[in-house]
Symmetry: C2
Subunit: 423 residues, 2 copies
């Protein structure tokens, strides 16, 4: 029965039960952390072969004919560009490799826009600049925009992606210069943009000539379920409308190998790449080519990466299932929460009753379970309905995860009852 | 006898000899490259132990108690900070580790100044900004300044460092916001700033509150000769004048291990570090911690690094000697060239007769020897006397180097005679 339909006495009785359970958790001195989308130890160990993938005495030159140990090869080694190109369905010539962090590539691209503008346009510094922000979204995207003083316009996301009617309307404002998005298995909703959404994004006609979409394809190959989503390739979609220049795509192996030591890439049209490469030539002599080649030696090719991702999925699926089963068992039918059931990515998005997210996170914290801060999935940490909580099931062991779900579900119920009873 | 004192017939006779030698070189179809300060293959092999320094199964956590393979440890692992601190005579707490490129750290620091100003000051973007540039200097420093539209004021360097009278005068201009310099074994002169120069830099009282010196200590431990230079530690020098905030120091292991896969650091006062770390928290989650730990495992401690540097010196000294002997044998006493005799670093700076540097580099190129472009050691590639050539002896084998010196010295003589004979 939904709590809304229960009378006050029944709710009070349930509240007492839950408080007792909550106090029991507090006595257990738990120390559980589900704050970030970090791979677990078993996932890291899948890539331990990297340590020996490249050895002294191996060929130190690839197709670029340069010693990977020495200076040079500004845009990264060809063999790894090919792997990213094959995985993402783009041309190798449009790939530039970065260091371990696609976040850094995104930060740097916006930094470039601020001081140097876009492909010959005016620098953004000093202009009123606005960006579209599908919500709930990735807190570090919002962080970059906040750091550079860019105004954020939230756009709601449903199961097909962001509200395209709203986006088509907002881009008529010439101060709207772009959008950050995670088009596949979005952070935190796990939503993959539908083919129609991708098509509508491709045919956007923004007023700003220097409109750029940061297409953060962080989870391009990160399937978890047996019925994975597919994302339409954005550059081919743009090609028919001549809008390839609108897209700056990034990806990385952060959640493929080691987040602490991986490789990343930026993919863009010839026009955009020319500007990025020029900047790069002032900025760096090369990123870590040995680590690039180490990844090539470990995976051989794109199929090697995909086979590796199946091992991740085998570890992650029980964890996602554990969360979904817990939600269904403990919160289902009570009318107090909704959650996504993603086919991949790193997160499950939980919506509790309006005004309850902060309370749930706070209750969890006091019982030893650290969650992503409430509001983190919205620009400036401001979730207007205070209801969204990002659930990151990957890092804890399954045992810890089950414990954490017990705590979380009790806290969701508690906060809901407090609200219903005006406590 | 100096060529200046020889009569025209003698000069013409010598010119004919040299032309014959030059033509002989051209017929040899040489392909020699001394353009950049790259370590040679034997130097790279000194660090091949890095490939196996860290293995699967080794402890994956250091003093920071975080799995180096996973996300986290924003400012880098403590063990490697300690090694840099010990090598540079600074406090571990003032070290932040970067990726493989100190150039990137410097670029990024200037980028930060452009959009965010210095420690709460006004952003530099849109202001008239000038930087002091000791000359001859490092082309990539000038490149960063050029990219950001910062005006460059050349300051001549002698054996004690830059002309401090001139610097003390120029910093009275509030639009002079800083200086790029290589204080030890400078690129290209191999000059180490004297204790007095360091002291005068430390007690500078610039008009600009947001004055910052990029102290690129690229060759801090890169001795070549048996009588190495010592550089006074800059932060301790600044401490007595309360000017620590003026200094942003960077260093890297680019020429210690692999330029293609190394580690770098930025060192600054608490005030400056707070701003850098804040930016970092928006920019990246971590640099490559596995590579950081790999370097720690390989070297153990600062003494391990210094012992390693002696192996580099053993390889480099014969190369530096070969260049110096060639210059002395072939150009000495002719009054047509001067050169530095550095105790370390990566370069020898050659000054030919005024107006002859471009011609020498061009003649060399046509004989199959690529040198650093003439003028590269000056802002905007403009050497006002067209006389400085940066000699990078490290990359070629000793055999190639001897060959290259033969070509270079003939070209220097040729260009000088052409000038003296008005040809």
């Amino acid at each position: 029965m939904e709590y809304r339909e229960m009378n006050k006495d029944a709710l009070e009785a349930r509240l007492s039960e839950l408080r007792a359970q909550y106090e029991a958790f507090q006595k257990m001195q738990l120390s559980l952390n589900m704050a970030r989308g970090k791979p677990g130890k078993a996932q890291l160990e899948l890539s331990d072969g990297l340590f020996s993938a490249l050895q002294a005495g191996d060929a130190m030159q690839g197709e670029d004919k340069m010693d990977i140990r020495n200076y040079g090869v500004l845009t990264g080694i060809g063999e790894l560009k090919q792997i990213f190109a094959d995985l993402l369905g783009v041309k190798k010539e449009n790939v530039i490799l970065g260091g371990g962090s696609s976040l850094n590539l995104m930060f740097d691209y916006i930094s470039q826009c601020m001081t140097h503008g876009v492909c010959g346009g005016s620098p953004w510094f000093g202009q009123k600049i606005k960006f579209l922000c599908p919500v709930p979204g990735y807190d570090r995207h919002f962080g970059i925009l906040e750091y550079f003083g860019i105004e954020m316009l939230p756009v709601e996301v449903d199961e097909n992606g962001p509200d395209m009617d709203m986006i088509e309307s907002l881009v008529r404002d010439p101060s709207v210069k772009g959008m950050f998005c995670v088009p596949k298995y979005s952070n935190p909703g796990g939503v993959t943009f539908s083919d129609e959404t991708v098509d509508r994004i491709a045919r956007l006609q923004p007023a700003a000539e220097d409109f750029r979409i940061i297409w953060d394809n962080a989870y391009a190959i990160h399937d978890v379920s047996d019925t994975p989503d597919t994302l339409r390739e954005i550059f081919s979609a743009c090609k028919q409308y001549g809008t390839e220049d609108h897209i700056i795509e990034v990806a990385s192996f952060a959640k493929v190998t080691f987040p602490g030591a991986c490789v990343s890439c930026i993919i863009a049209s010839d026009n955009n790449l020319a500007q990025i490469e020029k900047r790069l030539s002032y900025q760096i002599i090369n990123y870590d080519k040995v680590n690039q080649m180490r990844h090539v030696a470990f995976f051989k090719d794109a199929d090697g990466v995909l086979a590796h991702m199946k091992k991740h999925a085998a570890i992650l699926k029980p964890k996602f299932d554990a969360v979904l089963h817990a939600f269904s068992d403990k919160l289902g039918g009570k009318g107090i929460a909704e959650w996504t059931k993603p086919n991949g990515g790193y997160f499950i998005s939980l919506n509790v009753m309006d005004g309850c997210a902060k309370r749930v996170v706070s209750l969890c914290k006091d019982a030893g379970l650290v969650l992503t801060g409430a509001g983190a999935t919205y620009p400036k940490k401001n979730d207007p309905r205070d209801r969204n909580i990002r659930i990151a099931p990957t890092f804890p062991s399954t045992e810890e995860l089950l414990q954490a779900m017990d705590v979380l579900c009790v806290c969701v119920e508690l906060a809901s009852l407090e609200k219903l009873l005006n406590k």
